[in-house]
């Protein structure tokens, strides 16, 4: 076995093992350095996997050498590669640049523990993506969720505590629903391996338990993914979390749950449940449309910058779901792309928010008046990412909007309606991003904000780098497009 075959396992094992080591480190600086190094290593592994996937490799892996379906199997394809890239990428960006922000928000004596929890979250999220085993997904999901509860509650804002409690309750209910679902499937098929499940369900005579399982799994994961109207936990949790945690989680956490949802629906159920494509689409498409419209409307009237962006995230999850609910190659390509591009845009936006938070005590729009005068570079990054979120050409966000509208227009009359909604909600995004821009650029600064400097250098550099990535992938989208269209073909390939 050569080294590259171990990559999927290493993707999880490296951060998992680093967590206890980081706890033992006494110095905060060392703990940060170790966490950052681990995260970068995970990112490097993800890049290596992506390159392999682009070459056509699949990385099958059997844990402990036990062959599937008896042992636990891992595997990655182009869809997982997208997720691995954004999970490890978001973590690395947040840790590399985030030290000043974290130092100001996390109590010094808790920092090693905090970084350890971060590593667990990273391991959990990566684990969900690489594993091919239904129960293993549950375990990793709970590892990542428990770690994220800790991370979110780690900040100085007391309102994080009730928010995280709500998240914990709703997250646990979601995970338990998922557990019930796979229990039912296991009862009928006797297997937990996803690929094996797909084959064995065909032989199941009575479909009703499978149908119930599909319902439980869909609802459970929708809860975890904050699909409208199950998004209630998200806005507050993202708003009151430490800023760097928001960067990390907003970029990838909900998308990983969506990834599992799509895997189940397309790999396991689509082919086996009569009319599942139709049920899937008719159930999720209205929710997606509502998410896009209602959450954007909330964002229009929100005054707290972080919560505004959090509501926008709910809307963006709607876009991803909308593409998938078209059940077409073009739609799934758009979804896969939007997973990637939204992670870029939202990650950058929250990084810029973290920069602002270093200097402004409140993130309400009226308190950010004139921020662009004192922090021009930060606001420039914010604007670029905002344009990307809106979907202006030349930025990454445009690419996915383009594919999404194209996919919608393939669907005839319904598609034209959907395209209109996408366009309308993009206009809403223009308005809510514009409100921030107007406050920052065109309002006179508050008297207290006169002596404000730019954000600390490392944070600023990372933020600008992330902003540049938005432009780079807006002009040269070959890699994400290749991954996403390959992923879409894979998902649709199971539909014959």
């Amino acid at each position: 076995m050569n080294f590259s075959e171990h990559l999927p396992a290493l993707q999880v094992v490296v951060p998992l093992l680093s967590a206890p080591l980081i706890v033992l480190l006494r110095s905060n600086g060392l703990a940060w350095a170790a966490a950052t190094a681990t995260s970068l290593m995970a990112f490097a592994i993800a890049v290596a996997i992506t390159l392999g996937v682009l070459d056509g490799q699949t990385f099958p892996y059997s844990m402990g050498g036990w062959p599937a379906p008896y042992g636990i199997a891992l595997g990655v394809d182009s869809f997982s590669a997208i997720l691995l890239l954004i999970v490890s990428g978001a973590s690395s960006f947040a840790l590399l640049g985030g030290r000043p922000s974290l130092n100001s928000q996390i109590e010094a004596h808790r920092q090693p523990l905090f970084y350890a929890a971060w590593m667990l979250a990273l391991a959990g999220l990566s684990g969900i993506v690489v594993t091919a085993d239904a129960f293993n997904i549950f375990v990793f999901m709970e590892i990542s969720s428990l770690a994220s509860y800790v991370l979110i509650a780690g900040g100085p804002d007391r309102r994080a505590l009730p928010s995280v409690f709500k998240y914990l309750v709703m997250g646990t209910i979601g995970a338990t629903f998922y557990l019930i679902g796979i229990g039912l499937v296991y009862m009928m098929t006797g297997t937990l391996n996803l690929a094996d499940m797909e084959v064995r369900i065909q032989g199941v005579a009575d479909q009703s338990p499978i149908l119930v399982a599909a319902g439980f799994i869909t609802i459970g994961l929708a809860l975890k993914a904050a699909v409208f109207p199950l998004h209630a936990w998200l806005p507050n949790a993202y708003t009151y979390a430490p800023h760097m945690v928001t960067v990390f989680l907003a970029a990838c956490a909900t998308k990983v749950s969506l990834y599992v949802l799509l895997r189940f629906d397309f790999f396991v159920f689509q082919q086996n449940l009569a009319g599942h494509a139709f049920q899937f689409a008719t159930f999720l498409m209205p929710l997606a449309v509502l998410a896009v419209v209602v959450a954007s409307a909330y964002a229009l009237f929100e005054r707290n910058l972080k919560r505004l962006l959090a509501f926008s995230s709910v809307a963006q999850i709607g876009y991803i779901l909308l593409g998938a609910s078209l059940v077409s190659t073009a739609g799934l390509t758009a979804s896969g792309l939007h997973v990637f591009n939204h992670a870029l845009a939202k990650g950058t936006l929250f990084l810029a928010v973290a920069c602002l938070a270093m200097r402004f005590s409140s993130l309400h729009l009226q308190d950010l008046s004139g921020a662009a005068k004192s922090m021009p570079l930060t606001m420039a990054a914010f604007c670029i990412a905002g344009l990307s979120l809106i979907g202006v050409p030349g930025t990454a966000g445009f690419i996915s909007k383009w594919y999404l509208i194209g996919a919608a227009l393939n669907e005839g009359a319904l598609g034209i309606g959907l395209a209109v909604i996408i366009v309308l909600s993009s206009l809403m995004a223009v308005v809510y991003i514009w409100r921030v821009v107007e406050a920052a650029y065109f309002h006179t600064p508050n008297t207290s904000a006169v002596n404000i400097k730019e954000a600390p250098r490392e944070l600023l550099i990372i933020t600008l780098l992330a902003a540049l990535a938005n432009i780079y992938f807006g002009v040269n989208s070959a890699v994400p497009v290749a991954l996403a269209s390959d992923a879409a073909n894979l998902l649709m390939g199971h539909l014959q």
């Binding site: 549950f138 709970e142 428990l146 007391r158 505590l161 914990l168 309750v169």
Partner: protein
């Protein structure tokens, strides 16, 4: 008979609903957590029930015994893991409740909500 034969599954469903109800209806955070624990335990019961094979015994291979029917060990292993997850969730939830009590002085949901309203 058909209905009673699924006795365990009925208990599972009832427990699930009791737990769910407590999570939604109770304002007290500890009671919510208890509801959550019941909710999770219901699922443990479902897994334990499904591994039972009629006439099966504990899956231990003994010398000289052949063609023995075993209960399916896999769900038990799974549920051990799930129990660990459940316990840690409850523990973490309780830890959060403790901190909420420290900072807000209350564990009633509506009081906490009111405490954060802008004055």
């Amino acid at each position: 008979m058909e209905v009673l034969g699924y006795y365990n599954y009925w208990v599972f469903a009832v427990l699930l609903m009791i737990g769910f109800y407590a999570v939604i209806a109770r304002s007290n955070l500890i009671k919510k957590l208890l509801g959550l624990a019941i909710f999770q335990s219901a699922v443990f019961l479902m897994y334990i029930t499904m591994n039972k094979v009629e006439g099966g015994t504990a899956p231990i291979i003994q010398k000289g015994v052949v063609d023995q029917i075993f209960s399916n060990p896999l769900p038990q292993v799974l549920i051990l893991t799930a129990i660990v997850v459940g316990v840690s969730t409850t523990a973490l939830g309780l830890a959060i409740v403790v901190r909420i009590k420290e900072t807000y002085g209350s564990i009633e949901e509506h009081e906490i909500f009111e405490a954060d309203l802008p004055k």
